[in-house]
Symmetry: D2
Subunit: 404 residues, 4 copies
């Protein structure tokens, strides 16, 4: 497949940095592909872009470098110092592709982290600058395709999102300099009008607005999101169907998360946290409609650094009203869980784009807490969608079949 | 559907008693069907025998009564005293259908619990008596069908089971008074020659021997087992596929179970425990072939009574060799988890028998740790088999379609 | 010792009801004294009032009965239905001693639970009515001593409590009809002026105000509190000293509590929760001065009923900066943990009062999250204070020594 | 204080290596003293030997080096590669002081790990060689004092230890070439006859035999042990007294430990495991005499490396027979927990020896699972013994007081 560009909004964040470090470490043969869904069956049957050929760039509001983020992460153990040093030159080169991002409507919590931001009196000009940034990146690196991925800190939600329900309404809002439009949607809009697929890895609004869905459909561009399912919610979407299948009545599911990275810091802010909690919580309601108590907490605990622990307490009734319970503790590196999925999504979205599968991508539902276009939160069912997609496309690419 | 008899080998045990109490409590409208798979979709689309019409009987080696077991259980909270008293008369009536069982080759741990046992110089005579017991039960209650279910304590495994690989070999062993044949297989043989479907709810050998499989095939009788998946292993078969799907490399899975009932006591004996541990452990190997450490412990802790706690510690590597972990604690009433599945299996096996689906029953794989005839331990995949079975049979029964 | 009256502010709450049910169940020989500190050494060496002779009364703002509360609790398993029925007549008799309480400044969360409340245009009249209630109780039952115990729901804290730092200032505030005075302090004031010892089992203000401490000192009356240490905090005050002794550097201690009773409901309100969180959190700061992150959450999860689960996650550094952790889950019945301590405190406070030990009671520090007059939160050290008190008083009472 | 030699039996093991690396890292100012009891009050009031001045040597049966062990450990994260490289030269120098050890009666599990062992036809010659090794070390480094510490893998227990109950009996056994004498006791005997204090950090027999206690008393040499309390048992001895103080009746305490280092491997062997389980289990019986079920499991899980996880499940009854529970998970680096205590014990034993406190050392009870001479397993009480010792000796050393 052709040369793929990866544009990461939030390029200096932990997830983006870990994804880039990982891709380059694999290219240098100092890391393996554990954790990447596309590195094992069924996806290995697809004609996917090679990790080694990916070109990275992105936006950020912090004045730092990939190497600096990587070294800070390395103090917490992931990636190791050896790996970071092996890819240090690559990181410095990629820094050249990072542009100043916008923080419009990202909330105080994000603005506090920002060193410099892209802004302009007119929202339209912000969009224009973002489009310029995408275009320069594609031109400079002679890219056939750029996948734009939002991995920036979670924004507060948009009030009354229905007002942007059509492309026309969205574009009129841009023209009218509507300052309620969040940064994530500006990035998404700029991507789609430039002809790039868009992936929203976060709970932010991004391309979930009706107007942007319309645009993606019209342009036949993959529009994927939102909020990657990396840990606690992955477990929820795996375990809840088990209770349902066995007719065990879950009465209470309380989840408590602690983490110590910037994501945790931003989520200390209630406005930013709201969107995250919504997508984490909704997963259960669909699978367990009779649940009585369903709450998720996220607490910022700085000494944990990039490590995240989720504790879930699940109370269910069984036969003869017997009260039983399941409790679990999940502990992982937030970035090490997320980063391989970023690379997976880039590969699979590039594939969809290559094989003319535009619009929403139900086959990618298993990657998300709130998958656009798929209501079923059952992880096994969602993974079946991916298996069927692979069945449909397996063998393409090597056998001379015509692509887009 | 016709009147269904349920013959429980181990009738005075916790699981059998809880199943009977539950069925009668539901019949008296003092309990609901929570925990029964057949009480919710997809199985509600099937023509299943009514719980209220089931007639119970069984074998046991203890000189006690259902009411006595029920009251002992009730001290631990399940079932409640109210429920027990409501069904007390029913239990007394069912006691009339309980016959003295055999403990041939059940091991010292089981013999120690026995008050009286069925034995004879010739194994063939033991089989003969069991057949008589089945026949009297069916005759006396005018039953169209009897489902024989083994819920007795776990036996030690059979050494070199291949010697019973054909029906001919098995029957010659009976004739030759081969004292290595375990009780569970004698019960199973007697059931099949009498034309009754057989369900092995335990890790004991039962009808898993080649000779008995052959018999069930020949007679077109459902032959189902083994070792019901009620708790820790259910979780394993649900969670392990998630790790596989996400390409997370599970390195160590250590499970530790504590329970305080007679099952726990019998499992203190290493010979009896071996079979249980094997079926609990095997589940992971299939789904996670690269696992390095996979161990299950079961400890008898009397103060827990019928309650069982499993603690599992799972270590996995993610992206960039990051070491992460999941730990869970599952706590339930052993009997309350198992009993509804006994009733489900009776209903579903009666259905298969009614609709001429003899032999192994792959659609019931999700109920077992070591499902006969199905190698895939992925719970979601196994449940799919049930859904497809239901799709195939839905609508039958009410619409005049011809049955067996 | 003489006949002891126990006046419970919040008489119809879970803790008060369980304490009363327990005391009466022990009197009827249908329960034992497990959970009571005074029922085992060292306290068995003291001349303590007999549980069987205690006379109960109290205030409440709910229009219910002890039997109703007891039956509601019984649905959750504690106390059992048998025990409740055994003491039902006693409860009905005690209901005669329950008066309408005040909810002045208890916050909206408490007012919402109230059916009727004692109020008056003048705070002084509220105090007058409370004093009348105490006096009638003592007179009617011919009591030598009444111990007033606050077990009502947690109030919001008092802003600027220093303004009540002297008895004179407090009494002027009552006269001036200062509506900032919280109910708990009015009850406490009324107790002390009537010559009764006061125990604050809750985080509410009670007699912690300087003015009321002065009054208790002057009258040589035991003044004890506050916030009984029943579960998570008991563990904190036990475990934290271990880390300190071993020079293990605790960096993060995150506690998450879920409970489903009215206490949980009241604590949903941020104002009411604040006081509780403060006393729960402070325990660690004293023992582990270098702790970086120390947070406690309390969530209301109705399906848990009176059961409470605490999950604590403790991260500490060991030798060579090794990051280690301890996580625990504590699960108990909130009321069954608290109730025996109410009875213990009544007995020990009656003892102190009998033997002329007025004012603050350092020997009771181990019972409280925020013990008045003791800064050391180390549970073992606090328990030493009790042992020394017992050493000092052991043998009194039986040997003819003169008492007050 | 004078120059102190530290002789580690099991010098190439994880604990010894980590202790040496740590001491040298502190000397080079690349590590701090977190985890060392003697680095904080009360012990900072004592005149203790400086870590920087300690001279290390020891015995081992493996043909490896400190650096090799350190690097292997470093792969698991502790110590870091940086620290190891900083002290690499020191380690190489200390290797010069390591002699071939004996594995007499250490069991097959240990012999399997051995590359070369010290043996001789006569046990007396083995002792002679050990004494020579101690003597050369002291001479060569001009040491005022050598503290011998056993940190070797756990041996199987000695059958009928009473036969060695007097020094005379012990010495006759050596002369008679009694091959039942375990290595640990030979090392201990050699130490004491050479005039060196002895510390048994492990559950092996060491100087716990009556004959060796007699010898230590006679020579007024500190004789300390056994089985350092580093993790799960430390928690037991901290938590059990809390249950006792609150009169909560612990019915079941099940502990399950998993670890992946050589200690775990050796403990796979039932004979070697027996001693360990005994000292781990006994702690509870003393504090909670009514406990019904008390079991400890240790499982070897290689992927965990030097990390150890303990899961404890504690069931207790509270007021009104309420069943409650505490469960904890403790996770630490086995060596990082143990190593600082080795250094603490060396310092405190050197102090005792300096200030003429020979024989058993009750003030060190808090360091051990089975403290010689102290029956009370309550950690807080044991720590009080240390505080009182410090009170007795504080101020000595700087003020010209005469020492031994």
């Amino acid at each position: 497949m052709e040369r793929t560009g990866v544009w990461l909004v939030g390029a200096y964040g932990n997830v983006a940095t870990t994804a880039i470090v990982g891709a380059r470490a694999i290219a240098h043969d100092v890391a393996n592909t554990t954790g990447m869904v596309t590195a094992r069956p069924p996806c290995t049957r697809l004609d996917l872009p090679d990790l080694r050929d990916m070109v990275f760039g992105g936006h950020d509001v912090r004045d730092t470098s990939l190497l600096e983020t990587a070294r800070r992460l390395s103090a917490g153990g992931v990636p190791t110092a050896d790996v970071v040093e092996t890819v240090a030159d690559d990181l410095a080169e990629i820094d050249e592709n990072v542009r100043v991002g916008t923080a419009v409507n990202c909330g105080r919590a994000v603005t506090d982290l920002a060193d410099e931001t892209l802004d302009a009196p007119d929202v339209g000009d912000v969009v224009g600058q973002i489009r310029d940034d995408y275009r320069s990146f594609a031109d400079e690196h002679d890219l056939d395709r750029v996948v734009v991925v939002n991995v920036a800190s979670t924004e507060p939600g948009v009030a009354d999102p229905d007002r942007y329900d059509t492309l026309d309404a969205f574009e009129r809002a841009v023209e009218a300099n509507d300052r309620d439009l969040p940064a994530s949607s500006l990035y998404a809009y700029a991507a789609l009008v430039e002809g790039h697929p868009y992936v929203n890895f976060t709970p932010s609004t991004g391309a979930a607005l009706g107007g942007l869905r319309e645009l993606a459909e019209r342009e036949n561009l993959p529009n994927v999101g939102r909020d990657a399912k990396t840990g606690e919610t992955l477990l929820k979407s795996t375990l809840a169907p088990m209770f349902a299948a066995r007719n065990l009545r879950v009465r209470s599911w309380e989840g408590h998360n602690i983490l110590g990275n910037d994501d945790g810091l931003v989520l200390e802010n209630d406005a930013n946290k709201a969107g995250k909690l919504a997508s984490k919580g909704d997963v259960l309601e669909g699978i367990l409609p009779d649940i009585e108590h369903n709450r998720v907490r996220i607490d910022y605990a700085p000494p944990l650094g990039d490590w995240k622990t989720a504790w879930d307490d699940i109370r269910f009734d069984g036969f003869l009203d017997t009260r039983m319970k399941l409790q679990f503790t999940w502990e992982g590196s937030d970035s090490a869980l997320a980063a391989p999925l970023v690379l997976d999504l880039v590969r699979l979205v590039a594939h969809a784009d290559e094989y003319d599968e535009g619009g929403l991508q139900p086959q990618l539902a298993s990657f998300f807490k709130a998958p656009l276009g798929v209501d079923d939160h059952d992880f096994a069912h969602q993974f079946d969608l991916l298996e069927r997609y692979v069945d449909r496309h397996a063998g393409e690419g090597d056998d001379g079949r015509v692509r887009r």
